[in-house]
């Protein structure tokens, strides 16, 4: 099932932790808090890897009023959720954490969506299949074939 390389490379204890889904949120904010989403976007967008909290803080400060400690705790949380990796680096300012994304944006989205979907399927398997099929524009026969296919796959997965 795990097709993505990034996901395959993730060890058991570093499983991506996206435990919430926010229906109101737009794009990444569906999975992450607004600030978390901002930070992740900033890190993915930045050319520099790894990057320090201060650098992200200085980047975000350009567009919004934000406190350093807030950014720090946000990145700490993202690390705990395994969206970010970090290590201690020795440099001019002494010892400090440097962060880099554990996943590329694409693979994160893929993993997160799949996690939500598989949770939905686990709970409401048939309904999900029906909904998915209804959402797509197919004629009656194709829908029927697809539904059977989906149900078969789901049953196989449950076994």
């Amino acid at each position: 099932m795990h097709g993505s390389n990034a996901v395959a490379s993730m060890t058991e204890d570093k499983k991506l932790d996206v435990s919430q889904y926010n229906m109101e949120g737009k794009a990444l904010e569906a999975f992450l808090g607004p600030l978390e989403a901002n930070v992740m976007e900033a890190i993915w967008a930045s050319k520099k890897t790894p990057i320090t909290v201060r650098e992200i803080y200085e980047f975000l400060k350009k567009t919004r009023n934000i406190a350093y400690t807030t950014v720090m705790s946000t990145m700490d949380r993202l690390f705990e959720k395994h969206l970010l990796d970090r290590k201690i680096e020795k440099g001019r300012g002494g010892l400090y954490y440097v962060y880099w994304p554990a996943l590329e944006k694409q693979s994160f989205q893929k993993t997160a969506v799949r996690d939500v979907l598989s949770s939905l399927i686990d709970n409401f398997g048939e309904v999900v299949a029906n909904c998915l099929v209804d959402e797509t524009c197919l004629n009656e026969e194709e829908r029927k074939a697809l539904k059977e296919q989906l149900n078969r796959n789901m049953n196989k997965k449950r076994e």
Partner: protein, 470 residues
Amino acid sequence: MNFEGIFNQIFQPYFYYSLIFPVISFLCIKVLGRVCNFMGPKTRSLLYLVPLAAPLVVMLIFMPSTIIQTTSTQIKAVTISAGGPINGFFFSPFMPSRLQPGMFISAGQAPTALILTVTQTITTSVTGIICIIGLAAGAFFASSMILADDRIARRVLHVILLSPDEHGWLQTKILDACKNLAIASPKVGVVEDLRPNAFTIGYGRRATIVFSIGLLNALDKEELAAVAYHELGHVKNRDFFYKTLASALTIVSFFNPIAYIASSNVQREREMLADQRAIELLESPTVFGNALAKICRAIQNLPKESLLVSFSSNLIVTSSVLHGLSILSTHPRLDKRLRNISGPKATYHLNRRNVILFSVVILFLVLSSTAVSYAMVNLQNGFTSSQQVKAPSMNLVGAYAIVGPTGLSSFDSVTIPFGLPQNMNAPVYQTCRPIIVRGLLFTNNESSFIPPQDPAYGSTLLLAQNVRFR
């Protein structure tokens, strides 16, 4: 470079006095500190500035010079034509060693004249240039620190200023303490460093107290406040200026190892003083002691800080507590600090035994230092007076000694540095110290002799006239 060259380099007055005076005054103060227990950290920190400031005082007397002037002489004995007058003179900064018996004319030779080539060389004074570089760098450092320390340090160390609502309780504590101390409240910042650390940059209204993330994580609120008080103590005690002054003066005498030791001593005493301030602001000294102990423990698990950080950040609260080289560390040892803050407030008193001991030590140091300087001056001038030189075996009617103190530019005394024949008129001996014989003038024909002016310097030559040689 030959021996003479090295000798000339080292004995540039500014250079060697600015080496010796700091050493002597530092030793004096060190001994004083050991012997007398009536000095507090404040007095000691001021005293330790003396060895650092000594080179500046020396500079007022001897300006460092970029050149060394030396004259050298080549002596050649030549036969003179019959009846002709001979006039001549020679220079030498190292006369005594060259005025060997029989040096002028060997016995049994026909009357000869001396042909002397005097060459004056101007060499670059490496030590002088080193001193000038030090002075310039020190002045540059001091002025840039005073003008823009806060901006430089914030940039170099990547300090992030906190907004008023971040760590609000700590900022409130700092504000309250500032009211107590009657100082302008400093800004508060953080650095990303994971090692527990705090320091102050800038001074007065521009002062910024900086905590490391490591410190904010390692200590509880009360302990953080204690560390903040320590830093406020630095602000109140104006330690920025002590630190800047000590560092700038160390740069001035960067070639002198004692300067580094004296400078770190100044800073250690200021730390002690700031510790005492912190204790005054705290309800119990144990909190600050705990904080220090915690910081030490936390640092033990982390690599040591880079040189650049310890240089560029001012008054770091902990940095060097664990450094092996305690003589150069800017922070006192932990046990000393704990004793300083936990013991009853020390009283510094003066008793008779101490005063006598103090006087003896000072007397000894002053005498020995005078002896050292005297020896060095004489070493430079050579030991002029005792050389016996056999007179030339010709009828010279005038012997002129160009003499002067250490510098070639002034001539103020006269002596004839060689043994005189018995049957001649007693010469005028005027001796005064220090004396260096710079040259001799001689002639065999008084009527044709015109006492020459010093060609190189144009100053009047003092002379002993009518000195007759066999």
